[in-house]
């Protein structure tokens, strides 16, 4: 089976569906038409730009430019993590912790996949490196974001419980254990649900894309399984580092709870 190319006419035809959503918003007075229009335009512009950037990067096959694109992706993802927190760590920790943990986790997992399972030539080839990084990063971002949100929310809510343990002579690791356990469960639940439902409830985007592009379904499935393993690894590693880092920051060397190092996000 060959790849079916689609043109701008076909895209314009499909865009009618979004226009219908806009009409629905007007008729039902949902006042979503402006947001819908902006989101649609952003999606079109962002994807076209990404397409052009990827085309240029694939032509260059430069480790420097591939690395620069990867760093830019991590920095944007870090901003998303910070923006999703109701309570943020003060100072550079707000942006730095999530971004740093994601950078380490996603980079390690992507390099692991490129050098041991996929083995492209050269190993940093952007056609493989950037899509793999993008998928790992997107899911790691969700895990890190949920983990940090859960940790900071529960630490503020369970202040009495944490301090009761500290007052009895427990270490900060012991006093924070129920909080970190809950935060890590929150972080890992989406990937566990995703793995459990894949194939039955949903067909993953990458696998569907490969099948649409003419790949053998069994080969596409193998790729998808590999990606799920990588995502699980990246999410676990990133969330563990972020949750432990935040728990460390919310306490000090004298095993005190330091909620003064948290600030409410602006409305």
């Amino acid at each position: 089976m060959s790849y079916i190319e689609i043109g701008f006419g076909e895209l314009a035809l499909a865009s009618v569906l979004v226009v219908l959503n806009g009409l629905l918003s007007v008729v039902l007075r949902l006042r979503l038409e402006q947001q819908l229009a902006i989101a649609t335009l952003r999606m079109i512009v962002q994807l076209i730009l990404v397409g052009l950037v990827l085309k240029a990067l694939f032509a260059l096959v430069s480790p420097l430019w591939t690395g620069a694109a990867a760093v830019a992706m991590v920095l944007f993802a870090g901003r998303e993590i910070s923006a999703r927190q109701d309570r943020r760590l003060t100072g550079i920790w707000s942006y730095g912790l999530g971004t740093g943990c994601m950078l380490i986790a996603a980079t390690l997992i992507t390099i692991f996949a490129l050098t041991t399972q996929l083995n492209p030539e050269p190993w940093y080839h952007p056609r493989y490196a950037l899509p793999i990084l993008g998928m790992v990063l997107g899911n790691t971002m969700t895990g890190v974001s949920l983990g940090l949100h859960s940790l900071t929310t529960v630490a503020a809510r369970e202040r009495n419980a944490i301090e009761a343990q500290l007052a009895l002579g427990e270490t900060r690791t012991e006093a924070f254990r129920p909080v970190t356990q809950l935060a890590l469960k929150s972080a890992l639940m989406p990937i566990i649900n995703s793995m459990a439902a894949t194939g039955l409830v949903s067909l993953p985007g990458m696998m569907t894309g490969q099948i649409l592009a003419g790949a053998d379904p069994v080969s596409a499935v193998k790729y998808q399984i590999l990606i799920m393993f990588l995502i699980a690894g990246g999410t676990g590693l990133g969330a563990l580092a972020a949750v432990m880092g935040a728990a460390y920051r919310l306490t000090d060397g004298r095993h005190r709870l330091r909620l003064d190092r948290l600030t409410m996000a602006p409305e």
């Binding site: 944490i162 009761a164 007052a167 009895l168 002579g169 004298r254 095993h255």
Partner: protein
């Protein structure tokens, strides 16, 4: 026994006093004057300047968990982190006599924490702290939710603790109670230790 020298924390001007072995010192003052801040600073739960020593040993000379197991703060609102009462005690079987002395039902170990009244929580939190054998107890209104008979049992328990050589700093709004349990009261007004009355 417990020596506090120039203890300073945000909201509290430098405080100095001493608690002798077997002594119960009460602390009084208007709400928001800094009584809880004082207890928390002594327990090293908030960053503070100044020195606090126990039997000549400065608290910075030992780990914070070690300090707090010797100088234990019992807050006005107790915290709970497990589902049932007994899970908050290292050895529930051995706390029976203290549970009985504080007029708590022996079967309460199996209860979920959510079943406890505020007064039961206060007495169990006191038991939880005492069974770890501290040298000094920092009590923040430990009888605020108790009726007269239960208040009396707590006062008797603390008296026995002092008789065995323990030191106590007890925040109380009740003037009669302060007279019953202590010969010395520290008055804090607006974050300042203004007088020490006999």
């Amino acid at each position: 026994m417990l020596q506090v020298d120039g203890l300073t924390v945000i909201g509290l001007t430098p405080v100095s006093f001493e608690v002798e072995k077997g002594e119960c010192v009460t602390v009084a003052g208007p709400s928001g004057s800094g009584k809880t801040l004082l207890l928390r600073a002594i327990a090293d739960l908030d960053p503070a300047a100044g020195t606090v020593t126990l039997d000549g040993t400065e608290r910075n000379g030992m780990t914070a968990p070690c300090w707090r197991s010797l100088v234990t703060y019992v807050p006005a609102v107790s915290g709970w982190w497990r589902a049932t009462v007994s899970q908050h005690f290292a050895d529930w079987e051995n706390v029976g006599p203290m549970i009985e002395a504080l007029r708590l039902p022996p079967e309460c170990g199996a209860w979920p924490v959510s079943r406890l009244s505020t007064g039961e929580q206060q007495r169990l939190a006191l038991t939880r702290s005492m069974c770890r054998s501290p040298r000094v107890l920092l009590l923040d209104e430990p009888t605020s939710a108790l009726d007269a008979p239960d208040t009396e049992t707590v006062e008797r328990t603390i008296e026995e603790f002092c008789s065995s050589g323990g030191g106590v700093i007890w925040v109380s709004h009740d003037a009669e109670q302060r007279q019953r349990v202590s010969g010395r009261t520290l008055i804090i007004v607006g974050g300042t230790l203004r007088e020490q009355s006999a």
